[in-house]
Amino acid sequence: EPEVTQTPSHQVTQMGQEVILRCVPISNHLYFYWYRQILGQKVEFLVSFYNNEISEKSEIFDDQFSVERPDGSNFTLKIRSTKLEDSAMYFCASSEAWGNEQYFGPGTRLTVT
């Protein structure tokens, strides 16, 4: 069964460093998303991406964040200068069409020290 994959599973970085989180969405899906979940809290929307453009972004997704689809398979989230409060689990998701269920990857746990 096709699934969303994410790498790395765990990333530890120092405050101020740049990180890139990688995702491979399900191959025939057209819509891609990033969410984050701070430990013990609810899942928060960051950004949605379609047709090589950001469709929507939340207030969390400020200038420190960017997304890219560098090739036909990968979808990346970059955090330019990490802060302690960026520590969270980051989930990538994809869907086949607008309004369809979103399939989530296993997540990348980001720890900023």
């Binding site: 819509y31 998303y33 969410y35 609810k42 899942v43 928060e44 929307f45 949605s48 379609y50 950001i54 469709s55 929507e56 972004k57 939340s58 989930f91 869907s95 607008w98 309004g99 369809n100 269920e101 979103q102 399939y103 989530f104 990857g105 296993p106 997540g107």
Partner: protein
């Protein structure tokens, strides 16, 4: 600001019992999703509800949607230990297909 609230936040129930989790949301939407999350794991899609009055059932779980009341329910019948997990509802209202997740309900089924 859209609010998606679930109750209860924590639920401890005995095996064999029935219970309902509620998801209320504060703005118009006719698309609601239920997900399950096991500790340290990702989100697993359970139900997709796309219209008023939609009802879906899978095993011991049944989900329904009342868009007029802005309410969805997840009903658990004859709970078993394997259902222990955190359950999230998510509402889709945006043009960019962004999901607003509820606060989550942590369910523990006690043998």
């Amino acid at each position: 600001e859209l609010k998606v609230e679930q109750n209860p936040l924590f639920l401890s129930m005995q095996e064999g019992k029935n219970y309902t989790i509620y998801c209320n949301y504060s703005t118009t939407s006719d698309r609601l999703y239920w997900y399950r999350q096991d500790p340290g794991k990702s989100l697993e899609s359970l139900f997709v509800l796309l219209s008023n009055g939609a009802v879906k059932q899978e095993g011991r779980l049944m989900a329904s949607l009342d868009t007029k009341a802005r309410l969805s329910t997840l009903h658990i019948t004859a709970a078993v230990h394997d259902l222990s997990a955190t359950y999230f509802c998510a509402v889709d209202i945006g043009t960019g297909n962004q999901f607003y997740f509820g606060t989550g309900t942590s369910l523990t089924v006690i043998p």
